[in-house]
Protein backbone atom coordinates (compact mmCIF):
# COMPACT_ATOMS: atom_id res chain seq x y z
CA UNK A 1 0.00 0.00 0.00
CA UNK A 2 1.41 3.38 -0.90
CA UNK A 3 2.41 5.60 1.95
CA UNK A 4 0.07 8.58 2.28
CA UNK A 5 2.99 10.80 3.12
CA UNK A 6 4.81 10.20 -0.14
CA UNK A 7 4.07 11.85 -3.44
CA UNK A 8 5.23 9.87 -6.44
CA UNK A 9 5.17 10.65 -10.11
CA UNK A 10 7.09 9.45 -13.12
CA UNK A 11 7.89 11.23 -16.37
CA UNK A 12 8.90 9.42 -19.53
CA UNK A 13 12.01 10.75 -21.32
CA UNK A 14 12.76 10.00 -24.94
CA UNK A 15 16.33 9.53 -26.15
CA UNK A 16 17.40 12.04 -28.79
CA UNK A 17 14.43 14.32 -28.15
CA UNK A 18 16.35 17.54 -27.60
CA UNK A 19 13.32 19.71 -28.32
CA UNK A 20 11.51 18.53 -25.18
CA UNK A 21 14.59 17.90 -23.07
CA UNK A 22 14.31 19.45 -19.62
CA UNK A 23 10.55 19.20 -19.38
CA UNK A 24 10.54 16.45 -16.75
CA UNK A 25 12.91 18.33 -14.45
CA UNK A 26 10.86 21.50 -14.98
CA UNK A 27 7.73 19.68 -13.80
CA UNK A 28 9.54 18.20 -10.81
CA UNK A 29 10.56 21.73 -9.88
CA UNK A 30 6.96 22.99 -10.16
CA UNK A 31 5.67 20.25 -7.85
CA UNK A 32 8.35 21.01 -5.26
CA UNK A 33 7.34 24.69 -5.32
CA UNK A 34 3.71 23.74 -4.80
CA UNK A 35 4.63 21.56 -1.87
CA UNK A 36 6.47 24.48 -0.35
CA UNK A 37 9.97 22.99 -0.38
CA UNK A 38 12.80 25.44 0.38
CA UNK A 39 14.43 27.29 -2.54
CA UNK A 40 17.89 25.79 -1.96
CA UNK A 41 16.59 22.22 -2.06
CA UNK A 42 14.53 22.96 -5.16
CA UNK A 43 17.64 24.33 -6.84
CA UNK A 44 19.68 21.24 -6.02
CA UNK A 45 16.93 18.85 -7.14
CA UNK A 46 16.38 20.85 -10.34
CA UNK A 47 20.07 20.75 -11.29
CA UNK A 48 20.45 17.04 -10.51
CA UNK A 49 17.22 16.15 -12.32
CA UNK A 50 18.13 18.23 -15.35
CA UNK A 51 21.59 16.70 -15.69
CA UNK A 52 20.20 13.19 -15.33
CA UNK A 53 17.40 13.86 -17.80
CA UNK A 54 19.88 15.25 -20.32
CA UNK A 55 21.98 12.12 -20.00
CA UNK A 56 18.96 10.03 -21.00
CA UNK A 57 18.27 12.34 -23.96
CA UNK A 58 21.89 12.23 -25.09
CA UNK A 59 22.90 8.62 -24.53
CA UNK A 60 19.83 6.39 -24.16
CA UNK A 61 16.92 5.14 -26.27
CA UNK A 62 14.37 5.88 -23.62
CA UNK A 63 14.03 6.25 -19.94
CA UNK A 64 12.07 7.69 -17.11
CA UNK A 65 12.47 10.17 -14.30
CA UNK A 66 10.71 9.07 -11.12
CA UNK A 67 10.36 11.41 -8.24
CA UNK A 68 9.12 10.59 -4.79
CA UNK A 69 8.74 13.30 -2.23
CA UNK A 70 8.31 12.65 1.47
CA UNK A 71 8.55 15.13 4.33
CA UNK A 72 12.11 13.88 4.91
CA UNK A 73 13.54 13.52 1.45
CA UNK A 74 13.30 13.94 -2.29
CA UNK A 75 14.27 10.79 -4.14
CA UNK A 76 14.97 10.91 -7.87
CA UNK A 77 15.40 7.70 -9.78
CA UNK A 78 16.43 8.02 -13.39
CA UNK A 79 16.43 4.75 -15.22
CA UNK A 80 17.09 4.23 -18.91
CA UNK A 81 17.51 1.64 -21.60
CA UNK A 82 20.58 2.50 -23.59
CA UNK A 83 24.27 2.06 -24.08
CA UNK A 84 25.12 2.12 -20.40
CA UNK A 85 28.35 3.43 -18.86
CA UNK A 86 31.50 1.43 -19.44
CA UNK A 87 33.60 2.86 -16.66
CA UNK A 88 31.66 4.62 -13.92
CA UNK A 89 34.78 5.80 -12.07
CA UNK A 90 35.97 7.53 -15.21
CA UNK A 91 32.52 9.02 -15.88
CA UNK A 92 32.54 10.44 -12.36
CA UNK A 93 35.66 12.45 -13.13
CA UNK A 94 35.08 16.08 -13.93
CA UNK A 95 35.68 16.87 -17.58
CA UNK A 96 35.42 13.28 -18.79
CA UNK A 97 32.83 12.91 -21.51
CA UNK A 98 31.91 10.57 -24.34
CA UNK A 99 29.73 13.20 -26.03
CA UNK A 100 29.97 13.51 -29.81
CA UNK A 101 31.30 16.63 -31.54
CA UNK A 102 27.72 17.67 -32.45
CA UNK A 103 26.58 17.48 -28.84
CA UNK A 104 29.56 19.54 -27.71
CA UNK A 105 28.79 22.17 -30.29
CA UNK A 106 25.33 22.46 -28.77
CA UNK A 107 26.92 23.14 -25.41
CA UNK A 108 26.51 19.67 -23.91
CA UNK A 109 29.09 17.09 -22.97
CA UNK A 110 31.31 19.20 -20.73
CA UNK A 111 31.92 16.13 -18.63
CA UNK A 112 30.14 17.61 -15.63
CA UNK A 113 26.91 15.60 -15.70
CA UNK A 114 27.53 12.91 -13.11
CA UNK A 115 29.86 15.03 -10.94
CA UNK A 116 27.21 17.76 -10.84
CA UNK A 117 24.50 15.29 -9.85
CA UNK A 118 26.69 13.95 -7.08
CA UNK A 119 27.61 17.43 -5.89
CA UNK A 120 23.95 18.30 -5.44
CA UNK A 121 22.88 15.06 -3.73
CA UNK A 122 23.14 13.82 -0.18
CA UNK A 123 23.22 10.22 -1.39
CA UNK A 124 24.13 9.23 -4.90
CA UNK A 125 24.31 5.85 -6.57
CA UNK A 126 24.90 4.81 -10.18
CA UNK A 127 24.47 1.31 -11.50
CA UNK A 128 24.95 0.52 -15.12
CA UNK A 129 25.22 -2.37 -17.51
CA UNK A 130 26.89 -1.82 -20.87
CA UNK A 131 24.43 -2.31 -23.71
CA UNK A 132 21.49 -2.41 -21.35
CA UNK A 133 21.10 0.79 -19.46
CA UNK A 134 21.79 2.94 -16.43
CA UNK A 135 20.03 3.62 -13.16
CA UNK A 136 20.81 6.66 -11.07
CA UNK A 137 19.48 7.02 -7.54
CA UNK A 138 19.68 10.52 -6.08
CA UNK A 139 18.54 11.41 -2.58
CA UNK A 140 18.31 14.93 -1.29
CA UNK A 141 17.27 15.42 2.33
CA UNK A 142 14.87 18.16 3.36
CA UNK A 143 16.65 20.22 5.93
CA UNK A 144 14.29 21.60 8.49
CA UNK A 145 14.24 25.33 8.08
CA UNK A 146 14.95 27.29 11.20
Amino acid sequence: MPDNNVFEQSFPVKGGDFANAGEASCQVKEILKEIGVGADIIRRVAIAAYEAEMNVVMYAREGEVRVSISPEMVNLIIEDEGQGIENIDLAMQEGYSTATEEMREMGFGAGMGLPNMKKNSDEFKVTSEVGKGTKIDIRIRMEKET
Binding site: V6, E34, Y50, P71, G107
Partner: protein, 430 residues
Protein backbone atom coordinates in the same frame (compact mmCIF):
# COMPACT_ATOMS: atom_id res chain seq x y z
CA UNK B 1 -8.25 57.79 -6.67
CA UNK B 2 -9.07 54.77 -4.54
CA UNK B 3 -6.30 52.25 -4.29
CA UNK B 4 -6.89 49.35 -6.66
CA UNK B 5 -5.54 45.88 -6.14
CA UNK B 6 -5.35 45.32 -9.87
CA UNK B 7 -5.39 47.43 -12.99
CA UNK B 8 -8.33 45.64 -14.56
CA UNK B 9 -11.75 44.66 -13.34
CA UNK B 10 -14.61 42.59 -14.71
CA UNK B 11 -17.75 44.49 -15.59
CA UNK B 12 -20.39 42.06 -14.37
CA UNK B 13 -23.07 43.71 -16.46
CA UNK B 14 -21.24 42.84 -19.65
CA UNK B 15 -19.65 39.53 -18.65
CA UNK B 16 -21.65 36.56 -19.94
CA UNK B 17 -19.43 33.94 -18.34
CA UNK B 18 -17.92 32.63 -21.55
CA UNK B 19 -14.49 31.18 -20.85
CA UNK B 20 -12.42 33.19 -23.33
CA UNK B 21 -10.47 35.24 -20.76
CA UNK B 22 -10.06 32.28 -18.43
CA UNK B 23 -8.46 30.26 -21.20
CA UNK B 24 -6.19 33.12 -22.27
CA UNK B 25 -4.87 33.93 -18.79
CA UNK B 26 -1.20 32.85 -18.65
CA UNK B 27 -1.13 32.52 -14.86
CA UNK B 28 -4.50 30.78 -14.49
CA UNK B 29 -5.84 33.67 -12.44
CA UNK B 30 -9.42 33.57 -13.72
CA UNK B 31 -12.33 31.28 -12.81
CA UNK B 32 -15.91 31.47 -13.98
CA UNK B 33 -18.27 31.34 -11.00
CA UNK B 34 -22.04 31.74 -11.33
CA UNK B 35 -21.59 32.61 -15.01
CA UNK B 36 -19.25 35.53 -14.28
CA UNK B 37 -15.49 35.73 -14.63
CA UNK B 38 -13.67 36.26 -11.34
CA UNK B 39 -10.03 37.34 -11.01
CA UNK B 40 -7.97 35.67 -8.29
CA UNK B 41 -5.90 38.62 -7.15
CA UNK B 42 -2.82 36.79 -5.88
CA UNK B 43 -2.40 35.00 -9.23
CA UNK B 44 -2.84 38.07 -11.47
CA UNK B 45 0.23 39.79 -12.93
CA UNK B 46 -1.72 42.57 -14.70
CA UNK B 47 -0.59 41.52 -18.17
CA UNK B 48 -3.90 42.49 -19.78
CA UNK B 49 -4.34 39.32 -21.88
CA UNK B 50 -7.95 39.01 -20.62
CA UNK B 51 -8.70 42.55 -21.76
CA UNK B 52 -7.23 41.78 -25.16
CA UNK B 53 -9.37 38.70 -25.82
CA UNK B 54 -12.72 39.51 -24.18
CA UNK B 55 -15.36 39.42 -26.95
CA UNK B 56 -17.90 41.28 -24.79
CA UNK B 57 -15.70 44.18 -23.66
CA UNK B 58 -16.36 43.16 -20.08
CA UNK B 59 -12.75 43.58 -18.93
CA UNK B 60 -12.27 47.20 -17.93
CA UNK B 61 -8.83 48.79 -17.49
CA UNK B 62 -8.65 51.05 -14.47
CA UNK B 63 -6.53 53.88 -15.79
CA UNK B 64 -6.57 57.55 -14.80
CA UNK B 65 -9.24 59.73 -16.36
CA UNK B 66 -8.92 63.37 -17.40
CA UNK B 67 -11.14 64.50 -14.50
CA UNK B 68 -8.66 63.05 -11.99
CA UNK B 69 -6.22 65.78 -13.09
CA UNK B 70 -8.35 68.56 -11.59
CA UNK B 71 -6.94 67.75 -8.16
CA UNK B 72 -3.55 69.20 -9.14
CA UNK B 73 -2.28 72.77 -9.52
CA UNK B 74 0.16 71.71 -12.20
CA UNK B 75 0.15 68.71 -14.52
CA UNK B 76 3.09 67.09 -16.28
CA UNK B 77 2.61 64.51 -19.05
CA UNK B 78 5.23 61.86 -19.76
CA UNK B 79 4.22 59.87 -22.83
CA UNK B 80 5.53 56.40 -23.51
CA UNK B 81 7.54 56.47 -26.77
CA UNK B 82 4.76 54.22 -28.12
CA UNK B 83 2.65 57.37 -28.54
CA UNK B 84 4.93 58.47 -31.41
CA UNK B 85 3.93 55.39 -33.42
CA UNK B 86 0.17 55.86 -33.23
CA UNK B 87 -0.62 58.69 -35.63
CA UNK B 88 0.57 57.50 -39.02
CA UNK B 89 3.45 58.42 -41.25
CA UNK B 90 3.13 62.19 -41.19
CA UNK B 91 2.98 63.01 -37.49
CA UNK B 92 6.38 63.79 -36.00
CA UNK B 93 7.24 63.11 -32.33
CA UNK B 94 7.61 66.81 -31.52
CA UNK B 95 4.19 67.58 -33.01
CA UNK B 96 2.62 64.83 -30.94
CA UNK B 97 4.26 66.27 -27.80
CA UNK B 98 2.97 69.74 -28.68
CA UNK B 99 -0.53 68.35 -29.27
CA UNK B 100 -0.40 66.76 -25.83
CA UNK B 101 0.49 70.12 -24.31
CA UNK B 102 -2.27 71.86 -26.28
CA UNK B 103 -4.97 69.61 -24.87
CA UNK B 104 -4.28 70.84 -21.37
CA UNK B 105 -1.11 69.68 -19.63
CA UNK B 106 0.99 72.40 -18.00
CA UNK B 107 4.16 70.67 -19.19
CA UNK B 108 5.02 67.80 -21.50
CA UNK B 109 8.39 66.07 -21.50
CA UNK B 110 9.93 63.56 -23.87
CA UNK B 111 10.04 60.33 -21.89
CA UNK B 112 12.03 58.73 -24.73
CA UNK B 113 14.91 61.00 -23.69
CA UNK B 114 14.94 59.39 -20.26
CA UNK B 115 14.76 55.98 -21.96
CA UNK B 116 17.94 56.96 -23.73
CA UNK B 117 19.58 57.96 -20.45
CA UNK B 118 18.50 54.69 -18.83
CA UNK B 119 20.09 52.78 -21.73
CA UNK B 120 23.38 54.43 -20.85
CA UNK B 121 22.85 53.76 -17.13
CA UNK B 122 22.23 50.05 -17.89
CA UNK B 123 25.40 49.97 -19.96
CA UNK B 124 27.31 51.56 -17.12
CA UNK B 125 25.92 49.01 -14.66
CA UNK B 126 26.70 46.03 -16.89
CA UNK B 127 30.23 47.25 -17.47
CA UNK B 128 31.08 48.06 -13.88
CA UNK B 129 29.15 45.57 -11.74
CA UNK B 130 30.12 41.93 -11.44
CA UNK B 131 27.70 39.28 -10.32
CA UNK B 132 25.39 36.64 -11.67
CA UNK B 133 24.11 36.96 -15.23
CA UNK B 134 21.92 37.39 -17.16
CA UNK B 135 20.45 40.48 -15.57
CA UNK B 136 16.82 41.16 -16.43
CA UNK B 137 15.19 44.47 -17.33
CA UNK B 138 12.94 46.14 -14.73
CA UNK B 139 10.86 48.07 -17.27
CA UNK B 140 7.77 45.93 -17.73
CA UNK B 141 5.68 45.84 -14.53
CA UNK B 142 3.93 42.64 -15.63
CA UNK B 143 7.28 40.87 -16.10
CA UNK B 144 8.49 42.04 -12.68
CA UNK B 145 5.27 40.69 -11.14
CA UNK B 146 5.56 37.44 -13.06
CA UNK B 147 9.07 36.97 -11.69
CA UNK B 148 8.06 37.87 -8.12
CA UNK B 149 5.27 35.30 -8.29
CA UNK B 150 6.51 32.43 -10.44
CA UNK B 151 10.31 32.82 -10.46
CA UNK B 152 11.14 34.36 -7.07
CA UNK B 153 14.71 33.05 -7.13
CA UNK B 154 15.33 35.16 -10.25
CA UNK B 155 14.44 38.39 -8.41
CA UNK B 156 18.09 39.19 -7.61
CA UNK B 157 18.73 39.19 -11.36
CA UNK B 158 16.42 42.14 -12.00
CA UNK B 159 18.71 45.07 -12.66
CA UNK B 160 18.42 47.61 -9.80
CA UNK B 161 17.82 50.44 -12.25
CA UNK B 162 14.40 52.01 -12.29
CA UNK B 163 12.12 52.22 -15.33
CA UNK B 164 12.43 55.41 -17.45
CA UNK B 165 8.91 56.59 -16.62
CA UNK B 166 9.79 56.62 -12.92
CA UNK B 167 13.15 58.28 -13.42
CA UNK B 168 11.47 60.90 -15.62
CA UNK B 169 8.70 61.59 -13.09
CA UNK B 170 11.23 62.04 -10.29
CA UNK B 171 13.33 64.42 -12.36
CA UNK B 172 10.57 66.68 -13.68
CA UNK B 173 8.51 66.86 -10.49
CA UNK B 174 11.58 68.16 -8.64
CA UNK B 175 12.54 70.48 -11.47
CA UNK B 176 9.13 72.12 -11.87
CA UNK B 177 8.32 72.09 -8.17
CA UNK B 178 11.49 74.02 -7.36
CA UNK B 179 10.98 76.47 -10.19
CA UNK B 180 7.38 77.33 -9.35
CA UNK B 181 7.54 76.94 -5.58
CA UNK B 182 5.01 74.11 -5.57
CA UNK B 183 5.00 71.22 -3.14
CA UNK B 184 5.35 67.77 -4.72
CA UNK B 185 1.70 67.02 -3.90
CA UNK B 186 0.45 69.96 -5.93
CA UNK B 187 1.97 68.55 -9.11
CA UNK B 188 0.30 65.68 -10.99
CA UNK B 189 2.83 63.68 -13.00
CA UNK B 190 0.98 61.47 -15.48
CA UNK B 191 2.32 58.75 -17.73
CA UNK B 192 0.60 58.21 -21.09
CA UNK B 193 0.44 54.44 -21.22
CA UNK B 194 0.00 51.64 -23.76
CA UNK B 195 -1.00 49.12 -21.06
CA UNK B 196 -2.92 48.85 -17.78
CA UNK B 197 0.08 47.28 -16.01
CA UNK B 198 1.63 50.75 -15.43
CA UNK B 199 -1.34 51.55 -13.21
CA UNK B 200 -0.48 48.71 -10.85
CA UNK B 201 3.16 49.80 -10.72
CA UNK B 202 1.88 53.22 -9.65
CA UNK B 203 -0.70 52.03 -7.11
CA UNK B 204 1.28 49.12 -5.72
CA UNK B 205 4.92 49.63 -6.70
CA UNK B 206 7.62 47.01 -6.12
CA UNK B 207 11.13 48.00 -5.16
CA UNK B 208 10.08 51.36 -3.73
CA UNK B 209 7.56 52.70 -1.19
CA UNK B 210 5.87 55.06 -3.54
CA UNK B 211 5.82 55.57 -7.27
CA UNK B 212 7.01 58.93 -8.60
CA UNK B 213 3.97 59.00 -10.88
CA UNK B 214 0.45 60.05 -9.87
CA UNK B 215 -1.41 58.22 -12.60
CA UNK B 216 -1.49 56.89 -16.12
CA UNK B 217 -3.86 57.86 -18.91
CA UNK B 218 -4.31 55.28 -21.64
CA UNK B 219 -3.27 56.02 -25.22
CA UNK B 220 -6.77 54.86 -26.16
CA UNK B 221 -8.41 57.59 -24.10
CA UNK B 222 -6.14 60.40 -25.22
CA UNK B 223 -5.87 59.41 -28.88
CA UNK B 224 -8.99 61.33 -30.02
CA UNK B 225 -8.13 64.61 -28.29
CA UNK B 226 -4.58 64.51 -29.72
CA UNK B 227 -5.83 63.74 -33.22
CA UNK B 228 -8.19 66.72 -33.06
CA UNK B 229 -5.50 69.27 -32.26
CA UNK B 230 -2.69 67.66 -34.25
CA UNK B 231 -3.83 69.17 -37.56
CA UNK B 232 -3.46 72.82 -36.63
CA UNK B 233 -0.99 73.29 -33.86
CA UNK B 234 -0.52 76.79 -32.52
CA UNK B 235 2.57 76.25 -30.46
CA UNK B 236 6.03 76.01 -31.87
CA UNK B 237 8.75 74.86 -29.52
CA UNK B 238 11.14 71.95 -29.38
CA UNK B 239 10.20 69.39 -26.73
CA UNK B 240 11.69 66.27 -28.28
CA UNK B 241 15.25 65.58 -27.18
CA UNK B 242 15.55 61.90 -27.97
CA UNK B 243 17.32 60.15 -30.82
CA UNK B 244 16.30 56.80 -32.27
CA UNK B 245 17.90 55.14 -29.23
CA UNK B 246 15.16 56.49 -26.95
CA UNK B 247 12.29 56.24 -29.45
CA UNK B 248 13.22 52.61 -30.14
CA UNK B 249 12.16 51.65 -26.60
CA UNK B 250 8.60 51.57 -27.95
CA UNK B 251 9.12 48.06 -29.26
CA UNK B 252 10.93 44.83 -28.57
CA UNK B 253 14.69 45.13 -28.85
CA UNK B 254 14.54 48.85 -28.15
CA UNK B 255 16.02 48.74 -24.70
CA UNK B 256 19.04 46.75 -25.84
CA UNK B 257 19.42 48.56 -29.17
CA UNK B 258 21.62 51.23 -27.65
CA UNK B 259 23.71 48.83 -25.59
CA UNK B 260 27.14 48.34 -27.00
CA UNK B 261 27.14 44.57 -26.39
CA UNK B 262 26.07 41.56 -28.40
CA UNK B 263 25.32 39.39 -25.38
CA UNK B 264 21.84 40.87 -24.91
CA UNK B 265 18.53 39.26 -25.79
CA UNK B 266 15.10 40.78 -26.32
CA UNK B 267 12.06 38.60 -25.70
CA UNK B 268 8.43 39.65 -26.02
CA UNK B 269 5.02 38.04 -25.58
CA UNK B 270 3.94 36.34 -22.39
CA UNK B 271 4.54 32.73 -23.50
CA UNK B 272 8.01 33.49 -24.87
CA UNK B 273 8.89 35.39 -21.71
CA UNK B 274 7.86 32.44 -19.54
CA UNK B 275 9.88 30.06 -21.72
CA UNK B 276 13.02 32.18 -21.46
CA UNK B 277 12.60 32.60 -17.69
CA UNK B 278 12.30 28.80 -17.39
CA UNK B 279 15.57 28.59 -19.32
CA UNK B 280 17.25 31.13 -17.05
CA UNK B 281 16.09 29.15 -14.02
CA UNK B 282 17.50 25.96 -15.54
CA UNK B 283 20.84 27.73 -16.06
CA UNK B 284 20.60 27.36 -19.83
CA UNK B 285 21.37 30.97 -20.77
CA UNK B 286 25.13 30.83 -20.52
CA UNK B 287 27.01 33.72 -22.07
CA UNK B 288 24.03 36.11 -22.02
CA UNK B 289 24.49 39.30 -19.98
CA UNK B 290 21.18 41.08 -20.29
CA UNK B 291 17.60 40.10 -20.99
CA UNK B 292 14.96 42.56 -22.09
CA UNK B 293 11.61 40.91 -21.35
CA UNK B 294 8.34 42.58 -22.33
CA UNK B 295 4.99 40.91 -21.71
CA UNK B 296 3.19 42.25 -24.80
CA UNK B 297 3.75 40.83 -28.28
CA UNK B 298 6.40 42.92 -30.08
CA UNK B 299 6.87 44.94 -26.89
CA UNK B 300 4.99 48.05 -25.76
CA UNK B 301 3.55 48.85 -29.22
CA UNK B 302 1.60 45.61 -28.72
CA UNK B 303 0.11 47.00 -25.50
CA UNK B 304 -3.60 46.37 -25.02
CA UNK B 305 -4.40 50.09 -24.64
CA UNK B 306 -2.87 51.22 -27.93
CA UNK B 307 -4.88 52.25 -30.99
CA UNK B 308 -2.68 51.69 -34.03
CA UNK B 309 -2.28 48.21 -35.49
CA UNK B 310 0.93 46.97 -33.93
CA UNK B 311 2.55 46.02 -37.23
CA UNK B 312 2.00 49.51 -38.59
CA UNK B 313 3.24 50.91 -35.30
CA UNK B 314 6.36 48.77 -35.58
CA UNK B 315 6.99 50.07 -39.06
CA UNK B 316 6.60 53.64 -37.79
CA UNK B 317 9.02 53.09 -34.90
CA UNK B 318 11.59 51.64 -37.27
CA UNK B 319 11.23 54.63 -39.58
CA UNK B 320 11.59 57.08 -36.68
CA UNK B 321 14.65 55.25 -35.37
CA UNK B 322 16.32 55.62 -38.74
CA UNK B 323 15.21 59.24 -39.06
CA UNK B 324 16.61 60.32 -35.68
CA UNK B 325 19.60 58.01 -35.79
CA UNK B 326 21.01 55.31 -33.58
CA UNK B 327 23.70 57.44 -32.05
CA UNK B 328 22.79 58.44 -28.53
CA UNK B 329 22.51 62.12 -27.68
CA UNK B 330 23.11 61.41 -24.01
CA UNK B 331 26.34 62.48 -22.36
CA UNK B 332 27.91 59.38 -20.87
CA UNK B 333 29.77 61.50 -18.33
CA UNK B 334 26.57 63.13 -17.09
CA UNK B 335 24.80 59.79 -16.78
CA UNK B 336 27.82 58.36 -14.94
CA UNK B 337 27.65 61.16 -12.40
CA UNK B 338 23.91 60.80 -11.91
CA UNK B 339 24.25 57.03 -11.74
CA UNK B 340 26.82 57.34 -8.97
CA UNK B 341 24.49 59.71 -7.14
CA UNK B 342 21.82 56.98 -7.20
CA UNK B 343 19.51 58.84 -9.57
CA UNK B 344 18.61 55.69 -11.52
CA UNK B 345 18.55 53.19 -8.67
CA UNK B 346 15.62 51.17 -7.48
CA UNK B 347 15.30 52.01 -3.80
CA UNK B 348 14.67 48.59 -2.29
CA UNK B 349 15.17 44.93 -2.86
CA UNK B 350 12.29 43.47 -4.82
CA UNK B 351 10.13 41.26 -2.68
CA UNK B 352 8.96 37.81 -3.70
CA UNK B 353 5.24 37.11 -3.71
CA UNK B 354 5.15 33.41 -4.55
CA UNK B 355 1.87 31.57 -4.71
CA UNK B 356 1.20 29.84 -1.40
CA UNK B 357 1.98 26.09 -1.38
CA UNK B 358 -0.88 23.59 -1.43
CA UNK B 359 -0.69 23.63 2.36
CA UNK B 360 1.51 25.50 4.83
CA UNK B 361 2.35 22.15 6.42
CA UNK B 362 4.69 20.28 4.11
CA UNK B 363 3.36 16.85 5.07
CA UNK B 364 -0.18 17.96 4.28
CA UNK B 365 1.01 19.61 1.06
CA UNK B 366 2.46 16.29 -0.08
CA UNK B 367 -0.89 14.62 0.68
CA UNK B 368 -2.70 17.26 -1.30
CA UNK B 369 -0.36 16.84 -4.25
CA UNK B 370 -1.21 13.12 -4.15
CA UNK B 371 -4.92 13.84 -3.98
CA UNK B 372 -4.65 16.25 -6.88
CA UNK B 373 -2.88 13.66 -8.98
CA UNK B 374 -5.61 11.12 -8.22
CA UNK B 375 -8.34 13.59 -9.15
CA UNK B 376 -6.56 14.51 -12.40
CA UNK B 377 -6.62 10.82 -13.33
CA UNK B 378 -10.39 10.72 -12.79
CA UNK B 379 -11.10 13.84 -14.85
CA UNK B 380 -11.60 13.60 -18.64
CA UNK B 381 -8.45 15.60 -19.48
CA UNK B 382 -10.19 17.59 -22.21
CA UNK B 383 -9.53 20.95 -20.48
CA UNK B 384 -12.92 22.18 -21.73
CA UNK B 385 -13.34 24.84 -19.06
CA UNK B 386 -17.03 24.09 -18.47
CA UNK B 387 -16.42 23.60 -14.75
CA UNK B 388 -15.21 27.18 -14.43
CA UNK B 389 -11.50 26.34 -14.16
CA UNK B 390 -9.17 26.72 -17.15
CA UNK B 391 -8.11 23.06 -17.27
CA UNK B 392 -8.61 19.73 -15.51
CA UNK B 393 -5.45 20.02 -13.43
CA UNK B 394 -6.48 23.42 -12.12
CA UNK B 395 -9.94 22.08 -11.22
CA UNK B 396 -8.25 19.24 -9.35
CA UNK B 397 -6.15 21.78 -7.49
CA UNK B 398 -9.20 23.91 -6.67
CA UNK B 399 -10.98 20.80 -5.38
CA UNK B 400 -8.03 19.88 -3.15
CA UNK B 401 -7.87 23.43 -1.82
CA UNK B 402 -11.61 23.43 -1.15
CA UNK B 403 -12.45 26.09 -3.74
CA UNK B 404 -14.41 23.80 -6.06
CA UNK B 405 -16.21 20.48 -6.17
CA UNK B 406 -15.44 17.48 -8.30
CA UNK B 407 -19.08 17.59 -9.42
CA UNK B 408 -18.39 21.00 -11.03
CA UNK B 409 -17.09 18.92 -13.92
CA UNK B 410 -20.12 18.16 -16.10
CA UNK B 411 -18.29 15.24 -17.60
CA UNK B 412 -17.93 13.61 -14.19
CA UNK B 413 -21.69 13.73 -13.70
CA UNK B 414 -22.48 12.19 -17.05
CA UNK B 415 -19.76 9.64 -16.47
CA UNK B 416 -21.47 8.65 -13.24
CA UNK B 417 -24.86 8.53 -14.96
CA UNK B 418 -23.52 6.29 -17.69
CA UNK B 419 -21.85 4.09 -15.15
CA UNK B 420 -25.05 3.84 -13.18
CA UNK B 421 -27.31 3.08 -16.13
CA UNK B 422 -25.15 0.68 -18.10
CA UNK B 423 -22.56 -0.43 -15.64
CA UNK B 424 -19.94 0.36 -18.21
CA UNK B 425 -18.26 3.40 -19.76
CA UNK B 426 -16.05 3.57 -22.85
CA UNK B 427 -13.31 5.33 -20.90
CA UNK B 428 -13.19 2.75 -18.15
CA UNK B 429 -13.53 -0.32 -20.34
CA UNK B 430 -10.33 -2.32 -20.44
Amino acid sequence: MPEQLHSIKIDEGRCVGCITCMKACPTKAIRVRNRKAVIIGERCIDCGECFRVCPHRAVTPLTTSASDLEAFKMTIALPSPVLYSQFGRNAMPNEILLALKTIGFSYVFDEAWLCEMVTTAIEEYLETQDGPRPLISSTCPAVVRLIAMRYPNLLPLIIPIDAPREVAAKRYRTMKGNKHGLSPKEIGVIHITPCPAKMISINRPLGTDKSHLDGAISIRDIYGPILTVLKDLDEDMIIQQSSGVGIGWAMTGGEIRGLNMDTCLAVSGVQDVMTILDDVEAGKLKGIDYLECLICPDGCIGGPLTVENRHLAKNRVETLVKMFGEKTRVSRELVKRQYKAGFFSLKQQLEASPLPPLDPDQTKAIEKARERKEIVQKLPGTDCGACGAPDCRTLAEDVVLGHALLSDCPFMESKNDVLKSSGCHPKTRK
